[in-house]
Structure formats: C-alpha cells, structure tokens
C-alpha cells in the first residue's frame, strides 16, 4: 500500500496570528498594518516598528505578490511526502519587505522563477487556512 501524504504540520494559533492563519476562510490574506502610520507589520506583532504605535490590526491585502526566491525540493523528508514541490518566499505587492513562506502550486516546478507574479489561494487543514500561491493568470 502506498503511504498517504502526511498532513501539513500546523502552527499554534494565538490572538496575534489568528487573523493571518484563518483569513482564508473568507478568501482573504490578512496582514497586520499600523492604524497610525499605515506601515505593514509581519509576522503579526502588536507593535509598529516604524512609529512605535500599538494600534496594529490585520487588514486584507490584494493577495498578489512576487516570488522573491524559491527552491524545488526533491528529497522526501518524511514517508509519503509528494515530491518535487516548490518552497518559496513571496513578497506581497503592497510591501516587498513582507515575506510569506509558501508552496507554489498550479505550475510545473521547473517553470517557477524569481520575480514571477503570483496570487494567493488557501488550503484548509483543521481550522487553519494555509496560504499557498499560484501564478497569476495571463
């Protein structure tokens, strides 16, 4: 019998990161943003490093971004892990310093490239909506 793919390991949620990891339930990529100076803050943290405000809350962003860097993983690190797969860092269009680790899906791994435009989609595992990215259509 073929081993089944292992479930994605999940993050421990708390009040700081809940919006980021569950925003996908409404199809939204939620990134913390300062209510005073409007700087983005990631990973979710109740402090704005730009203006020292504590008035930081998650807001939906466009869900679009670019691939900052990536790797095509070929090694099966655990039984059943589907390989190859692409691990990437994606920078969001609203702020290129906000980096989201992710898997790139919907494209042959060998066609993935740095700077490729991508958009978010979500995969639900338990109560977590894991942000994944795929190439922007057209």
């Amino acid at each position: 019998m073929e081993p089944t793919a292992p479930p994605r390991p999940l993050p421990a949620l708390n009040d700081d990161n809940q919006a980021f990891w569950t925003g996908g339930s409404e199809g939204k990529l939620m990134i913390d943003r300062c209510g005073d100076c409007r700087a983005y803050v990631h990973p979710p943290t109740p402090f704005c490093p730009a203006c020292e405000s504590r008035n930081v809350a998650a807001e939906a962003v466009s869900g679009r971004g670019r691939i900052t860097t990536f790797t095509i993983n070929h090694k099966q690190w655990m039984p059943g892990l589907p390989v190859p797969y692409v691990l990437a860092l994606v920078e969001i269009d609203e702020d290129p310093t906000v980096r989201i680790p992710t898997n790139i899906v919907g494209i042959a791994p060998e066609k993935v490239a740095i700077d490729m435009p991508v958009e978010v989609l979500f995969e639900q595992v338990e109560e977590v909506f894991v942000p994944l990215f795929r190439p922007v259509e057209g």
């Binding site: 390991p9 860097t69 790797t71 990437a88 310093t97």
Partner: protein, 396 residues
C-alpha cells in the same frame, strides 16, 4: 585597539573525540574525550577550569542535535566554576565562544572550557524522522511560518538563500563544486575526517539534487562527535603549554532581522554575514590581506562562497573568479580554506571542528595537511539561518 576585551583572551588547548557516522561511544563519553584532551592540551588540570560554555544547550530529545549540555558536563567532571552558559540564542554557532570571551574579559573566569557535542548520525539511524527543528505537534515560534510547507530542515530553508545568492551574484555551480572538492582533498589528508575519498567536478554534478540549487555534495555531513576548546585570560595563557593564540577580534553583530523568512535586500542572500564581518574588521588593524588561513563555514558550500566576499577577500560577485580552479583556496594557495576538510567532509561539528582546525594549523600540528607557509592570522566564520558570527586568531 587594545581596549577591546577579546584581545585579553587566548585559545590555550583543543580536543576532539572520534568523529564518525557510527559512534561506538555514548555522547557523554565523546564529550569527556574531547574535554579532557583540551584541558590536558592546555597544560591544565580539571581544577583549573573555572568556567564552562556550550552551544546550543542540551535539547533533551532524541534528535542528536545537542545531547549534552553544560550542567551534565559540569557534574560529570565535577567542575567548580565561577560562571557557566549554554544556549542556542547566540550570534551563530561560535556564540558559546563569544560568551566565554566575555566572561573572561569581565573577570568572572580565567580558564573557560567550551564544548560542542553532536550525535545526529546515530540519532537518525534510530529514527528516520529525527529532526533538530521539529518534533511533531503544532509548530511554535518562528518555525511556525515554515512548518505548513514541509520546510522543517535547514537544507530546504537554506536552499532559498542559496538560490537568491546565485541569482544576485551569479554564483556558478562550478564554484561551489570547487569548494566541495577542496574540502574533500583536505579531508583526504586528515585522518580524523569522515569522508576522505577525493571527488571531482563530475562527481559533484552527479550528486543527488536535494533542493535546487543544493546538491548532496553541497551539504555537510551529520555526525557523532565532540570538540572542546579551552579559552584563557591572556595572562594565564602565558603559563600554559602552547604558544599564545590570541583572540584578535570578534564579529557578533546581528543588524538584519532575526527571521528566517523576513530578511530582505542584500541580507536575503548574505544574512548577517555583512554585519558580523564589519564588526570584526572594526575591532582590528589587520586587513583581509593579512589573513593566512580561513575556516569559512560550510554547512552548505554557498556559505563558504558568501563568506569569501562578506569577509572582504573579494568583492561580491567575484566569488567565481576568486575560487577559479581551486588553486587559490588549496593548502598551497594564497588563502587555504577549510584545511581540515570542513563540515562537508570532516563532519558537521557546527564550527567547532573548524575552530579546532584553526588552532591545529596555527600550532603546526596539521601533519600531512599542514599549510607550509608561515601562519600567524586565521579567521573562523559561521552562518546558517539569518545568523552569523566570526572571529580572528593571531599567533603571537
């Protein structure tokens, strides 16, 4: 420059257990071998040791990443110390050395025993999933950002930086290949190394792709072993057995975001190597051209390439030309690198094998791999994740 505290500190003794893929001794036995050897090498007794420092602290799990911590060793050797420290939240793997230097400069201690023990090779034989970063359950802390993407090993995460470095600076696989070949050649002359059969560029290109652009021969070797180093106040060091190896400068600065995923700009490719290197050079009158040998971190080959430019041996983007056909970084070259085989071939002793090697070369105990030219100045560097650190030794 004399006011910098690290200049009051010297390496006085080193020790190394058997390094292997299949230890016949327990982690504690390996640690005792390394530590007792280092104490004896310095011409000291256990009762002279008044400080103890280790990286990254006992993890008390079955991963083999760090089976022995400072408390266990202190008790085993019945050391009576004024100060001790063990932990992983430090500027790179040499952080335990930087801590010890601080303790000596502050006057807490005169002779600090520093050690690093790993048992990863044996741990992986017992459990295929032995993982230093993740043991199942929900992911906490910074790891949570990577965990859902099956990125719980350093190789996959570091491949992201490797890719970006190659993209930004044009690093060629021939160059990382030459680094691997050089380390293996040095290991072939080092009886302590795990992998000693020389390799060619063809072997390098034929090695399995782990995570692009990372090949198997770009990766260091998980192993079982222990390394110990005695650091002493310079005044006390003059009464020790070996010629003085003074710490000339330390680079511990972390001025980029301490995050595996949020580092950006130049740091995405180079992590904190720029800020730690800058700090080291600010604390010495010496220049890169004064360095006789370099033990440049090689958790992955690209770390070594990045350090060539981060440490100032060449400009960013000139790594391919600097390494060339490998002759410049060979034992006979202008800048011999990773003279003992490095982590790629000796085994992943997390910078401590290379610190042992720096002292071995400066004391001219290198046997078949001894660099023949005069040796006075040596640097050691570390990397991995967003972290880095570096230090310089000068033989007086």
């Amino acid at each position: 420059m004399a006011h910098y505290g690290e200049k009051k500190v010297a390496v006085t003794g080193v020790g190394m257990s058997d390094i292997s893929r299949n230890a016949t001794k327990t982690p504690m036995a390996l640690t005792i071998d390394a530590c007792m050897q280092a104490i004896e090498d310095a011409g000291l007794k256990r009762s002279d040791i008044d400080g103890l420092s280790s990286y990254p602290g006992a993890d008390n799990n079955a991963s083999g990443f760090s089976p022995i911590g400072a408390p266990q060793l202190q008790d085993a050797l019945r050391l009576k110390v004024n100060w001790f420290s063990g932990g992983g939240e430090v500027p790179g793997q040499l952080g335990a050395v930087f801590n010890a230097i601080g303790a000596i400069a502050a006057g807490y201690c005169r002779h600090v025993l520093v050690f690093r023990t790993v048992y990863e090779a044996s741990a992986r034989k017992m459990s295929k999933q032995a993982n230093a970063l993740f043991d199942g359950g929900r992911a906490h802390g910074q790891l949570m950002n990577f965990a859902p993407y099956w990125a719980m090993t350093a190789s996959v995460q570091q491949a992201l930086y490797f890719q970006r470095f190659a993209h930004d600076y044009g690093l060629k696989p021939e160059t990382t290949g030459r680094i691997a070949i050089n380390n293996r050649r040095n290991a072939s002359l080092n009886p302590a190394a795990i992998y000693r059969k020389p390799i060619t560029l063809d072997d390098y290109f034929a090695s399995e792709i782990i995570a692009t652009p990372l090949r198997l021969f770009d990766c260091d070797v998980p192993c079982d072993g222990s390394v110990a180093v005695v650091l002493s106040h310079i005044d006390a060091a003059r009464d020790c057995r070996n010629p003085i190896l003074r710490v000339e400068a330390v680079g511990s600065a972390q001025k980029v975001r301490y995050s595996w995923d949020q580092i950006s700009g130049e740091a995405l490719a180079r992590q904190a190597t720029i800020s730690s290197s800058a700090m080291m050079w600010e604390r010495t009158d010496l220049k890169p051209s004064d360095v006789d040998i370099a033990q440049l971190y090689d958790g992955f080959t690209y770390h070594t390439a990045a350090w060539l430019s981060s440490a100032g041996f060449c400009k960013p983007g000139e790594e391919n030309d600097f390494v060339g056909d490998g002759s410049r970084i060979a034992l006979e070259g202008d800048l011999p690198i990773n003279t003992g085989g490095g982590q790629l071939s000796l085994g992943r002793m997390h910078a401590y094998g290379q610190l042992h090697e720096a002292a071995t070369q400066l004391w001219r105990r290198g046997g078949d791999r001894q660099v023949q030219k005069d040796l006075t100045v040596s640097i050691n560097t570390t990397a991995g994740g967003p972290l880095s650190g570096c230090m310089m030794l000068v033989r007086e």
